[in-house]
């Protein structure tokens, strides 16, 4: 109903600008919706040069911001790069179309391990191609923190009041107290969510700010001593400030995979496949890895990494033991989402 009304009204307004619509159709293009700072701009330029297909590139900051935009149908994308649990949500709502892997020969470059892991959210491996993966952990400044950092507990240490940066996205924020309390990070038990929210509220006076992309610059600029960050950002920050160290806490964490999907209403499926194949090429995946420093599931690209320190880095490629207690997020249903949002509001206004 909601969509119908919005579309009807849009339809009433749109015919006034037929010129611009017609113009867009003439050119070959692919509309890509990706995370912020998640692709080397030169890669896009090279793709345009090689194929003549124009890449219309848009960015989002969290899965939660991306979803309503796609679900409302307000914008039509050909390729989107959501995380695991969001892909299962989109699948549950019948928003994706299967990918024709025959058109993507470079798919063979993707490590079997990650295709296997993707079954958590894409059971038949029909709808998604892994792009990046990683963990969530603590980035800390060794000159400002003198306690050993091996547990999430340190984010509740009053010694570091006003020196802590937390993640400003619901599920990443709740994952931390849930791991500390030994819960499943996909729990929808209200008592457990309430207990986790209580911990977050206890922590709030110590938190300097809730941030997403800014955590990187703030840690490099030594604005804070401890920050919750994605592993891919950690390598970048270490390049910029050598006092920074990344830890996967012993309680375990969230292991995530961001994968490319093609939404059902995509207009330029062929171009999307060409772009996907381009991204799966070893040399291109390597260039993206160098630029964004998020772990790549592309084995051809990993072999091409010249710097052994990076190729064997446990931040980029953690060992099995390091991930022993870690879990992947799965879609928890609309009621689960609502429950988390309700308690997140409570934490935010506490």
């Amino acid at each position: 109903m909601k969509k119908m009304l919005a579309l009807a009204l849009l339809a009433a307004v749109l015919p006034v600008f037929p010129a611009s619509v017609a113009q867009a159709k003439d050119k070959e293009e692919v509309v890509v919706y990706n995370w912020g700072e998640y692709m080397d701009p030169d890669v896009i330029a090279d793709f345009e040069k090689e194929t003549g297909i124009k890449v219309v590139y848009e960015e989002f900051e969290t899965n939660e911001i991306m979803y309503p935009k796609v679900a409302a149908g307000a914008a039509q994308y050909d390729l989107i790069c959501p995380s695991d649990y969001m892909i299962s949500k989109m699948l549950a709502n019948d928003m994706l179309q299967p990918i024709n892997f025959d058109h993507i020969p470079n798919y063979a470059n993707i490590d079997e391990k990650y295709i296997e892991q993707s079954k958590g959210f894409d059971p038949e491996n029909k709808y998604s191609i892994p792009y990046c993966w990683g963990t969530v952990g603590i980035l800390y400044n060794t000159t400002m923190v003198d306690d050993p950092v091996d547990s999430w507990e340190i984010l509740w240490n009053e010694k570091y009041a006003d020196d802590i940066l937390m993640q400003d996205s619901v599920r990443d924020a709740f994952m931390i107290p849930e791991k500390m309390l030994g819960y499943d990070i996909n729990t929808v038990n209200e008592d457990e969510i309430a207990a986790a929210a209580q911990l977050l509220m206890d922590q709030k006076p110590l938190v300097q700010a809730y941030v997403i992309d800014q955590v990187r610059d703030k840690m490099i600029g030594e604005e804070a001593a401890l920050g919750v960050i994605y592993s891919g950002e950690a390598i970048y920050t270490q390049r910029e400030n050598e006092n920074l160290e990344y830890v996967i806490p012993k309680e375990g964490t969230n292991v995530w995979i961001d994968s490319w999907v093609i939404p059902k209403n995509a207009k330029n499926v062929e171009n999307a496949e060409k772009f996907l194949d381009f991204l799966c090429r070893g040399d291109i995946a390597l260039r993206n890895f160098d630029y964004i420093t998020y772990s790549t599931p592309n084995k051809a690209a990993r072999e091409l990494i010249e710097d052994e320190e990076i190729r064997e880095s446990t931040i980029a490629f953690p060992t099995e033991e390091m991930l022993a207690n870690s879990q992947v997020f799965v879609y928890i249903g609309e009621e689960g989402d609502a429950l988390y949002n309700e308690y997140w509001d409570k934490v935010k206004s506490y």
Binding site: M1, K2, L5, A6, L9, A12, V13, V16, T62, E64, I65, Y67, P68, A71, D168, V170, K204, V207, Q208, A209, Y210, V211, G221, E222, E223, D337, A338, N341, D345, K346, K348, S349, Y350
Partner: protein, 274 residues
Amino acid sequence: MKKQKHVLLSGPYLFWTAAFIIIPLLMIVYYGLTDTSGAFTLSNIAQMGTPERLKALWLSLLLSLIATGICLVMAYPLALILTGTKVNATGFIVTIFIIPMWMNSLLRILAWQTLLERNGVINVALRFLHLPELRIINTPYAIALGMIYDFLPFMLLPIYNALEKIDQNVINAAYDLGANRFQTFWKVIFPLTVPGMISGITMVFVPALTTFVISDFLGGSKVLLIGNVIERQFTQVGDWNVGSGMSLVLMVFILISMAVMQHYDKSGGEQVVL
């Protein structure tokens, strides 16, 4: 013939009003009063009643009132001084106050973040001078500061316009009739600037009440204003109905504030428009 011309000329404006003001407003009313299945309900409006949302609303009202008050207290004397200066200089000084508005407000708020941060420009300077540091980033104080900075020109310009429009003869007449400087100000100048102040207050109070950008950047996402609550409903939770319901409640507060303003605008004179 003449009548037809009028219709033609007002066409673009009517289209604009219908497409971008009236239809969206009706959509908000529709979503605000229905549930996901399209049935009538008041529950979206009742959603405003939870303690955390009332707290956000209360904090928004408080901060925007403070920001409006401080803007008024700062802008009025400034406008008096500007009107008092010679004609040539005035254009220059007014331009100085308008130039910041040429820049995107988001950029200006980000600049304040860089200024106020722990290792920001201000604190580095203070530390160099061995003075105590300024720790207001990520607090409501920083948000109020951002509001004042961002909206001060909207208070200054209408007051300045109102002051400039006052006929010098009226003031001279007051002096001739024996009024001293204070009486002239209080009985003549001040009442004549009320419409300007009313415009200024509205133009500061309304955007301050609904802002979510300033509180996000200068409050470190720790301070939740009502603008943030509504923004979250649309961009993250994806519940248009609840978001619209809360927007309706906020609109009521804005309408109340405008009604109060109109009431004090006794002079009933023309509104000063920028």
